[in-house]
Structures are given as C-alpha cells and as structure tokens.
Symmetry: C2
Subunit: 209 residues, 2 copies
C-alpha cells in the first residue's frame, strides 16, 4: 500500500512530460534539463524536479536528464510498461470514437471489447472489434482479463453499468457520463465530463472580460 500520497496533478504532469520526452527522443535529443522540459510543456522547472522527486533521482547535477532513460522511468511509474485490457460499455458516438481512437493502443491500453444494448449497433464493427451485447459483460471481463472499464452510456444507465463492471471484477473505471458514480473504495474512478470543459471556457470568457 502506498506510503506517500502523490498529487493527482503530479501524475497528470508526468504523463505530459512523458509525451514531450518521447517527442524529443524521436528528434534525436539525448539530454534535457528540467528547464527545457518546463519550457516545452508550460510549467516551472522547480515543478518538474519536484514531480520527479516523488519517485527518485533521475538526473545528473550540472547536466540534466538522459531523455530515453527518464522517459522509461516515467513510463514505468505510470504503469505503461504493461498492457491494460479495456472494455468500453456504450457504442454511441463517444464510445465509438474512443474505441477507434489510436492514441490508447500506443500507450499500452488494449481495447478488447465494446458492448451496447442497441440491437442496431450490436454486431457492427469498430475497426476490428465487433460490438457485443451487454449480456456478455461478465464473461468477457473474466476471460479477457479486463482491468479497466470505460462507461460511455447515457447518465441514466451509468450506475447500473458501473455496478456490473465492478461485480465482474474490473479494477478501474473511466466515466464519461455526466453522473456521479458510487464505487467501492478499492476501485479507481476517474470522471471525464466533456461539457464541464466547455463550461469552464464559457465561464472564463464571461469572467475575464
């Protein structure tokens, strides 16, 4: 069990750093300073060092960090050195888009299963994944060793689907529905509310003027 608590903001920044490092690596850059990273991703250099300090010492004073080495460290920290099997529930607009989104596979997220209740959608293909009926949820979670469930159903069905996912043994839930979900403490939950994002923009447009 964890000893230190890592700020969520730190984890999110690590993800961003890793992407920047990947880019640098492809450009052939071998060494990078906290200041360079800071500039590249828009934070302070102290912030970069503080974030990394939670996990160890990865740099050399006076020199900086080896791009590839630091990248590998962060990938390991984020748990991206392993494959995660993912199930998406809901193959509407959003669910389909997520299923087809290439960015996930690149980071080790293996979308193995997509479910829906709509007869017209079941049986259709998203890339090479066939949409299956909700009934197979538990079977698939178990036989495909799925740890992460993505909830992309309407708000009204969200809690029910979540309960089913948890009962089937999923360990983490990414919720795209605009509904506050109840999950047991040991299940990791994250909410992505697309409207909220636009609304924060709207607020700032009104408030800053």
């Amino acid at each position: 069990m964890k000893v230190f608590k890592i700020p969520e903001a730190t984890v999110m920044r690590l993800s961003v750093y890793s992407r920047y490092l990947y880019q640098l690596g492809r450009e052939g850059v071998e060494t990078v300073s906290s200041g360079d990273i800071a500039k590249g991703v828009g934070v302070s250099s102290a912030q970069v060092r503080k974030d990394l300090a939670y996990f160890g010492e990865f740099g050399t004073r006076g020199v900086g960090y080896k791009v590839e080495e630091l990248y590998n460290h962060i990938i390991k920290i984020l748990g991206l050195d392993q494959q995660w099997n993912v199930m998406i529930v809901g193959a509407g607009k959003l669910g389909s888009a997520l299923a087809l989104y290439q960015g996930f596979a690149e980071r080790g997220f293996n979308i193995t299963t997509v479910l829906d209740v709509d007869e017209n959608i079941i049986g259709t293909k998203l890339g090479n994944i066939e949409v299956e009926p909700l009934e197979v949820l538990e079977t698939r979670v178990k036989e495909r060793n799925i740890t992460i469930g993505v909830v992309a159903v309407p708000a009204s069905a969200a809690q029910d689907v979540t309960d089913q996912l948890i009962k089937a043994g999923v360990k983490a839930i990414l919720n795209f529905s605009p509904r506050v979900l109840k999950v047991p403490r040991e299940v990791v939950l994250r909410n992505v509310d697309l409207s909220v994002n636009l609304e924060v923009l709207s607020f700032n447009l009104v408030f800053n003027s």
Copy 2:
C-alpha cells in the same frame, strides 16, 4: 477585469452542481441544503457553500437554497445563459463524435461549423452539419460569430490550426490534441487529453496495490 481569482476546481464543481440541481428540479424538489448537494455530488457541504460564496449569497439560513433560483444563478455565473458559437476543426473520430454529441447543445453550445482537410471527409454530413474545407476557417469564424474553437486534429497540425483560429478571432480554444499549445494571454485555453485520464487510472492501479 476580474478582481478575485476563482479556483478552476470551483468552476468545475459549479458545473456539476448545476447538473444536479437540474435533475432535482425535474424531480419536483423545490428546496435543497448545501448538505444535500454535497451528498448528491460527493463533496463536503462546506465546499459547496464556499464555492457559492465567491459569487454572492444565494441561500436562506436555516432553510437552504431554492433549487430553481440557485440553478439559474449558477447558469448565469457559468455564462450558459447565452449561446456560444463553436467551430470544430478536425472531423476524424473524435471531432465527429464531438460534433454529434448532444450534450453540448443542451448547455448552450452551438456547433455551427466542422472543418477538415481530408477530401474524403469534406462534404460529408455530421447530423445536419456539412464538413467544410479548412480554407473557410477565417470566413466562417467571422460570419458566424464563432467564439470557441475546438482543436481535434493530430498533434502535428494542432499549433497551426490554433494559430489560424486565433488569427480569425476566436476567443477560447478547447484542445483535444496531445500537444502543448501556445496562445496569447487573452485567449482562454483548455486541454482535454484523453490518454492522460487512462494513464492516471493506470498509475493508481499500479501504485495503490
């Protein structure tokens, strides 16, 4: 110009409160306490009151808040009492899903235009919006009075599209590409990185076990 700085977390929570209040309103509930809201959305009651206190006094001691009244206040605060015209650039999987997503229109976001560079996509219809070529960006922003631009293009094109949007007069950018964008200070920018969310889950799965 703003005098107090409002925490972004507060703004996001207001958005969540508003949705909960809307739900309560439909259920016929007339009055609600900060404790009720807190329970409904999973925060503390003090947090609810604190968030609201940034903007005024909306309740009655010993009684609570009138649901409809508070809802209207929050909608006003968030700037959702007006229509915002939105352009989506990039009609790939994600851009299309966003264009078709009903949740935006419900909150006053009017997606008027969708652009892409791909010949095969231009001319196709998303709902009742026809995808147009990138060339019309500036014209459309001006003639349709577009304030919000959504960047849903690959990372490599993101900054270029952003620059064009800003040059055309857009005031806020919602960025779905995994790229750190540079924008002038007066332009409101928000990043939504779908992979980051899965990666935070992954981190927690590894770290909490």
